[in-house]
Amino acid sequence: MTLVLEAAVLGVLTGGVYALMASGLTLIFGVMRIINVGHGALVVLGAYLSFAASRSLGMDPFVTLVITMPVMFVLGLVLQSVFIRPLKTDREALSVLVTYALALGIEGLLGYFFTANYVQLKAWYDTASFPIGDFRVTYVYVFGFLLCLAILGVMFLVLYHTTFGASIRATMLNRTAAQLIGIDVDRVSAVAFGIGMATAAAGGVVFGITTAFNPGSHYDLISRLLTIIVLGGLGSLRGAIVAALIMLVSEDITAVVISPVWASFVFFVILVLVLLFRPQGLYGVRVRERI
């Protein structure tokens, strides 16, 4: 029982990190109607940037975010305007291919500069732990959870309490109508992509401290993140957060009750159940979408 409880606590803590990564992905979908298949690669890129910064500047991994988040944000603006904005026809399908290509390019570049060897971010809190009741919790999970909570909080503040946030939400609701009332949807899209990338950087740091990673790690990440946003309902931030918590808690419990090798399988089981009973996801609206 203690094991299950411990797994549940761990699931909530890591769920918070996945909630942040998935909300960036679902925000990008919501604003631009594109599936960013490269999101996993962006998280890995963020992790490598922090790795390089902490190694060469001797910084604490979390502190490197001061550098990597703005860098990733600007990179997001550039990538969006160079590769995604030019897509005019058949956007949804083509954007999948373009972001896939970006993922491959990032994987290749990271492999070139950092080799395919596994690395991990180091900090004093990566294995140190403190006791809660009958079990111990590693500090990094708590720090990571708090960080992601803080960033999610800022994101919600921006989205719901600023004019720019309102224009982002308007674009998510109806792109054409937003354009008609004078919102520069291209600018909104670029900023949304930038925000998505900055949150990927933050998620990447926590991912990089808790997991050994290499340039190819993005495949595993993206399949999880995509499953999460489908469960939550594409384009729903609340959905992404709830879904991330559900997925990660079930995964961690499965790992202790059944076996760690079957843990990721839970993702697919939940996905199939969702498709059976609620194809639009938890918070999704059943839209008649077309490619």
Partner: protein
């Protein structure tokens, strides 16, 4: 018009004759190796197009069916104790049948969704198959991989049987694709691509049609995967359920022209040799992936509609601009 038709048929016959004679024209193993992989992608792209091109449902998970076909043949050979040689080729349709059954199940779930969600669901199912191949160690050998019996053929001849097997499957895929394109079923699929709700409203059984296209497309990919497994003689989960294989066939279709008959063939004939060349020259460093991604982006951004549709538009425009021969003499009447 008739002349154009005759020209077309003659062209197809010439191309097919070249494809048939290729191992005799260029018997060097390095070349036939490229030919095997290129023909494999001609088949894969054509098969993918039956679902992705005709119905507009983009599946990024076809690598799952590819790997499933591979594993099915490998396990069949191992459990039936089939010796290496030509017999394994006869079991390829069995792998296709098994893949069709799997695709029926997956399609039944996946096709409850549309557009973006469908894309994601196919990716998820692909990774699920990869994980199953990894975890069912007792059946598949897990990460340790699965070996195929190795045929005793000489190095000069080794590639040839595989080449003809791939050619046969590519021809089959093309034949099916052509047949579908000219049938009422094919019209229904195109109607789904253009507007699924309207198609349903005018009485197209959209669900059954989509599922049929999905199953046919997957079964072909499964058979090609089976031959591939036998060709490379050793497979493991990440190697055959490789997302890169899944995305390559999609890219080829987009380069050639989505939903056209010749587009996927053209795309594969251009991209696969290029891809192999990149892998051969830059494969050692990870730059190979960067270059591949660059080609990928260039294709999508420069030719988003694909070669065949772009050419068709160009030819049509040319035709419109040059006035027909008949009205021309009227100019003579003018003083």
């Amino acid at each position: 018009m008739l002349q154009a038709g005759v020209l077309k048929i003659a062209g197809i016959i010439v191309l097919f004759a070249i494809a048939l004679a290729l191992p005799a024209i260029a018997p060097d193993p390095a070349t036939t190796n490229i030919a095997v992989f290129t023909m494999m992608y001609v088949g894969l792209a054509t098969a993918w197009n039956i679902m992705g091109g005709y119905t507009g449902y983009i599946s990024l998970g076809h690598a799952g069916f590819f790997g499933f076909g591979s594993y099915t043949l490998g396990l069949l050979l191992a459990h039936l104790g089939v010796a290496a040689g030509y017999t394994p080729f006869l079991l390829v349709p069995v792998a296709g049948l098994a893949t069709a059954v799997l695709a029926l199940g997956i399609g039944w779930f996946a096709l409850r969704t549309r557009a973006a969600t469908f894309v994601i669901v196919t990716i998820a199912f692909m990774f699920m198959l990869q994980l199953l191949a990894e975890n069912l160690v007792g059946l598949t050998g897990g990460g340790g991989g699965l070996g195929f019996p190795v045929p005793p053929w000489s190095g000069d001849y080794f590639n040839t049987p595989y080449y003809y097997a791939m050619l046969a499957l590519a021809t089959l895929a093309l034949g099916i694709s052509w047949r579908i394109r000219r049938s009422k079923f094919g019209l229904g699929l195109l109607a789904i691509r253009d507007d699924e709700d309207k198609a349903l409203a005018v009485g197209v059984p959209t669900r059954a049609f989509k599922l049929t296209a999905f199953v046919v497309s997957a079964a072909l990919v499964g058979m090609i995967g089976a031959v591939y497994g036998y060709y490379v003689t050793y497979i493991y989960p990440q190697f055959v359920v490789d997302p890169l294989i899944g995305i390559s066939m999609v890219l080829m279709v987009f380069l050639g022209g989505l939903g056209t008959l010749s587009g996927p063939v053209l795309g594969a004939l251009i991209l696969e040799p290029a891809q192999l060349w990149l892998a051969y020259n830059y494969g050692a460093s990870r730059l190979y992936l960067v270059l591949y991604a660059a080609v990928f982006l260039a294709v999508i951004l420069v030719l988003p509609r694909g070669i065949v549709p772009s050419l068709t538009v160009l030819i049509e425009r040319r035709r419109m601009r040059t006035p027909p021969a008949a009205p021309a003499p009227q100019q003579a009447v003018m003083p």
